[in-house]
Each structure stands twice: as C-alpha cells, then as structure tokens.
C-alpha cells in the first residue's frame, strides 16, 4: 500500500465528511408571462430553452460554463449527468425540450425545463451549505438582471408546485447513516424528520430508494421564512442533531462489540477485494460498511477516493470507464475489477 493511504486521512473530520457526503442548495424559478411546463406548448418550451440558454451563457455566473442540450445527447450521457447529481432523473427522462448549464468545476448547474423553468443548484462536497447558499444567491441575482422571474407580493417566487412557492429554496445534505441503520434507529429519524417538516429521500433524490445507507435530507417548507432563517434552522439545528445521532450510534457499535464491528467491515472489504462479479446494490452495501470502518479508523482508505468509488461504480460511469457498451455480465465484471483495483491497498 502507498504511504499516502497509511497516513490518517486529514479530510476525515473536515466539513463533517465522516457523515456528510455533499451539500446542495437549489432554487426554483419561473419566467413571468410564460405558462408553466405542464401547460406549455412544444414551441413555448423551446422558446424557454432558447431564452434561458442565451442568458446562462452570457451572465458570467461562473468562470467557465458549459451548455448541454439534453435533447441532443444520448441516454447514456444523460445517465452520466444523473449519476454525478448534476441533473435530476426527472429531467433526464423528460420528453420536453430541455437543457442544463454546468460550471467548469461541476458545482453549479442550472436545469432548464425540469419541473420549473429553472432549477438553480449548487453542490459542494461535505457539509458546506453556507458557501453553496452564497453561490446560489449570487447566481440568482445575476440571472434576474436579465430574466423576469414570476413573483407575487403574497406568495413570493411562483412555482409549478405549491410545495416550492415562496423562496423556492431547498437545502439538502447527502448523509451516510450506517450507524443508525445497524442500530435500528432509522425509524426514529424518519419520524423526527416528519415532525420537523423534512423530507428523507434516497441516493438519487425524489422517488429514489436509499442505496448504501445514503440518504438525502431536505427542508419541505419554502414559504413564511426568509432564506437565511431556513438556512439557519437547517445548519444550526437539523444538521448538528443528525450528525450527533449518527456519530453516537457509531460509538455504540464500537463500544458494544468492536470485534463484531471489525468482522463486519473487514468481511465487506474482503468480499469487495475478491469478488469477480458485483451488482451495484451489493457494491453500495459493502462499500457502506467499508466507509463505516474508515470513519471509525478500523480501516485505512482515503475517504475522497472511497466516496468517488460510489459514483464510479454506477452503470453509466462504468461504461464510460471502458468506453464501450457493456452487457449485463460484463457490467458486473468491470465493476468488480474496478473496485478491486481501488481497494487493493486498503488495510
């Protein structure tokens, strides 16, 4: 194994990376004087794409911005964007005229003709809601200089769905909760989330299942508070409480039966290092255990490398990795081979 992998991971505690994989802030915006997408004609949808594309490419919202016409690229490329969380599954599968503007560092993306005309989102690794919020706010300010967003005095920014009206803002964190899963505490988390008006979703957001004990937690209320107040509740109350809960559960596992914990994580690591065929679900489940072991310092694998593996083993990324189409068995084989390669130095 390399020296780099033997050193304690300096990023383990930075930005709460032991629990939080990424933070996202998004805004829902619609153009005034235009029907929403569920009532828009094909021509109107195309006009919305044309108008917003021009603004997005010229508004200096990022040093480098790439426009992708989602009608023009194939399903495989759209899946790649979904797997990187740059577009939603909804947008990938939609039949409307649609597109996305993505910043060079892939942290800012503006989806056009998703559920609303515009969905502005900023993604950051780790727990970084504040900086994501700053960037989403400045993008909003720049875009509104050239676009008139639908707005009412009573209800604020108008959206297709009443659940997004007002600020149109959604704060979310993608969290890894193996401790709460193993200690059977997830039910309590879900109940508490419901009482606090939070949504708990799976790995790919709305409508998706949890995979590898990874969940997205986000606010449901978008009206009646300022963006700053919503952010403060999320970052000062919700996130710390959730992190404490998960960390306590991990400590319980460690104290109650360290041998059982070690057995669990090392067994997972060794299956991953010897498997010749791996389904994505199985790989996510085992990687989740390895990640738990790394965060409790029972194993040594650089965390960013491990987190990247969660993305690299997804079907479209695997296909990209070998640069050719894969049949079902080839996909399992390539996934297993990639995982073995990345984890070969873990100990």
């Amino acid at each position: 194994m390399t020296d780099e992998a033997r050193l304690p991971d300096p990023r383990l505690d930075a930005d709460d990376r032991d629990v939080v994989l990424s933070s996202r802030v998004r805004l829902a915006r619609n153009l005034s004087g235009q029907p929403f997408l569920n009532r828009a004609s094909e021509t109107q949808c195309a006009n919305i794409v044309r108008t917003t594309q021009h603004v997005l490419l010229n508004a200096s919202i990022s040093e480098k911005i790439i426009w992708i016409d989602l009608d023009e690229i194939n399903a495989h490329d759209r899946s790649l964007l979904v797997e990187r969380h740059l577009i939603s599954r909804n947008l990938a599968e939609s039949t409307l005229h649609r597109g996305v503007a993505i910043s060079g560092d892939e942290q800012l993306s503006v989806m056009v003709n998703e559920e609303d005309h515009l969905r502005i989102q900023v993604l950051r690794p780790g727990s970084n809601i504040d900086s994501a919020f700053q960037q989403v706010r400045s993008t909003d300010i720049q875009l509104e200089q050239q676009l008139d967003f639908a707005f009412s005095d009573r209800w604020g920014y108008l959206a297709v769905c009443p659940t997004n009206v007002g600020t149109g803002i959604r704060f979310s964190i993608m969290v890894h909760l193996p401790g709460l899963r193993i200690t059977n505490e997830l039910g309590k988390v879900r109940r508490a989330a419901k009482e606090l008006h939070l949504a708990v979703r799976g790995y790919y957001g709305e409508g998706s299942e949890s995979s590898g004990n990874i969940f997205q937690i986000s606010n449901q209320v978008t009206l009646g508070s300022t963006e700053e107040d919503l952010r403060d509740i999320f970052t000062e109350r919700i996130v710390p409480a959730l992190l404490d809960y998960e960390r306590s559960a991990r400590q319980v596992l460690l104290k109650r039966n360290p041998t059982l914990l070690d057995d669990r994580v090392h067994r997972a690591l060794n299956i991953l290092r010897s498997a010749r065929l791996l389904k994505v679900e199985e790989a996510m489940k085992l990687l989740s255990r390895v990640r738990l072991g790394v965060c409790l310092e029972r194993l040594h694998v650089p965390l960013p490398q491990l987190d990247d593996l969660f993305i690299q083993i997804q079907p479209a990324h695997l296909r990209q990795h070998v640069n050719c189409a894969l049949n079902a068995e080839e996909e399992l084989e390539i996934r297993a081979s990639l995982v073995r390669e990345v984890l070969k130095d873990a100990d």
């Binding site: 300010i141 108008l158 297709v160 009443p162 007002g166 300022t226």
Partner: protein
C-alpha cells in the same frame, strides 16, 4: 345487449333525454373508451373521489372557471397539485391559498427575498408590515430575544437590500 357499433356485449349504457326525446347509446368497452366515455370501474378510486370532493367543495362555478393565462381550471390544478401559469395565482387566489397553506404547513405569506427589480418603497412597506406583525406576536408570546431580532431587522430594512447585493454580487464564480 350488444354494442351499437359491433357485435360485442355492451357494457356502457347511456340514456340522454333532451327536449322530450330519449336517446340511448349502448357500447362495448373498446368503443366506449374510443368515444371518450369514462368507465367508472376503470378509473383509480382516488381520481373518482378527488373529482367528487372538488365538485362538492368548490361547486360547479369554481371548479370550471378557467384561468385567463393558460386556460386551466382550479379542478385540474387541485387534481394534479400543479399550477398552470403565474396568472393562475391571481385567478384562483383564494382556493389556492388553501392548497398552499396545506403544502406549506400553515405558512401563508412570503417574507423572503424580493427580486432586485422590485425593490420599491411599496415592497419595503410590505416587508415592514410583515415584520411588525411578527414583532407583535413575539412580544405577546414574551419571546423577547426574537422581538429584539425583529426590531433590528425592521430598523435595518431600508439598508438591508443594498447590503445583501453588495455582499453576494462578488461571489459569482467558485
């Protein structure tokens, strides 16, 4: 009884009496669907029920009135939980208020950001009114810390807008 248009058994029987004249139509499942006649048993129960509730609560008038912007009815909005266009928010203001209230857990008014182009004295007045209301509520509830925060926000209202833009405008790129 056979279908009027083929030899299959008729499953839909529609009787219309207009101007004293009785007209009967008997159709099989396929021809009934082709004619756009709804088959109650073929529809999910939630759709049938939500139509029934809308009809009962809003009455024919509200359920069938159309938005001048996009032509949709409030019945359609309620069924899909999707609004048709910005104009719908004006056309169906009161029934929508109920829907929004439910979706937003009792929150009914925007107090967040206002687009820069709309930073007019009248909007600051709206904000100030909202803050005053919140301040009164905080004092009544003896939440003095919250009241102090609201009072500060009220005092800063006139300068807040410029401050907000200055602090965020330079952060466009990563």
């Amino acid at each position: 009884m056979k279908c009027d248009l083929c030899s299959k058994p008729a499953v839909v029987h529609e009787v219309t009496i207009s101007g004293g004249a009785k007209k009967e139509v008997h159709l099989c499942l396929e021809h009934a669907q082709a004619a756009g006649i709804a088959i109650p048993g073929q529809q999910p129960i939630n759709k049938v029920l939500s139509k029934f509730v809308i009809g009962k609560k809003e009455g024919m008038g509200e359920g069938h009135r159309r938005c001048g912007g996009c032509g949709c009815t409030f019945g359609q909005i309620k069924q899909a939980n999707l609004i048709g266009c910005p104009e719908c928010y004006r056309a169906f203001e009161e029934p929508l208020a109920q829907l929004i209230d439910q979706s937003q857990f009792g929150n009914t008014e925007h107090v967040g950001r206002i687009p820069r182009k709309m930073h007019t004295p009248s909007h600051n007045e709206i904000r100030a009114r909202k803050l005053m209301r919140e301040l009164d509520a905080a004092v009544t509830a003896e939440q003095y810390e919250r009241a102090a925060e609201l009072r500060d926000r009220l005092n800063e209202l006139t300068t807040n807008v410029e401050h907000e833009d200055e602090s965020t405008e330079g952060n466009a790129g990563p």
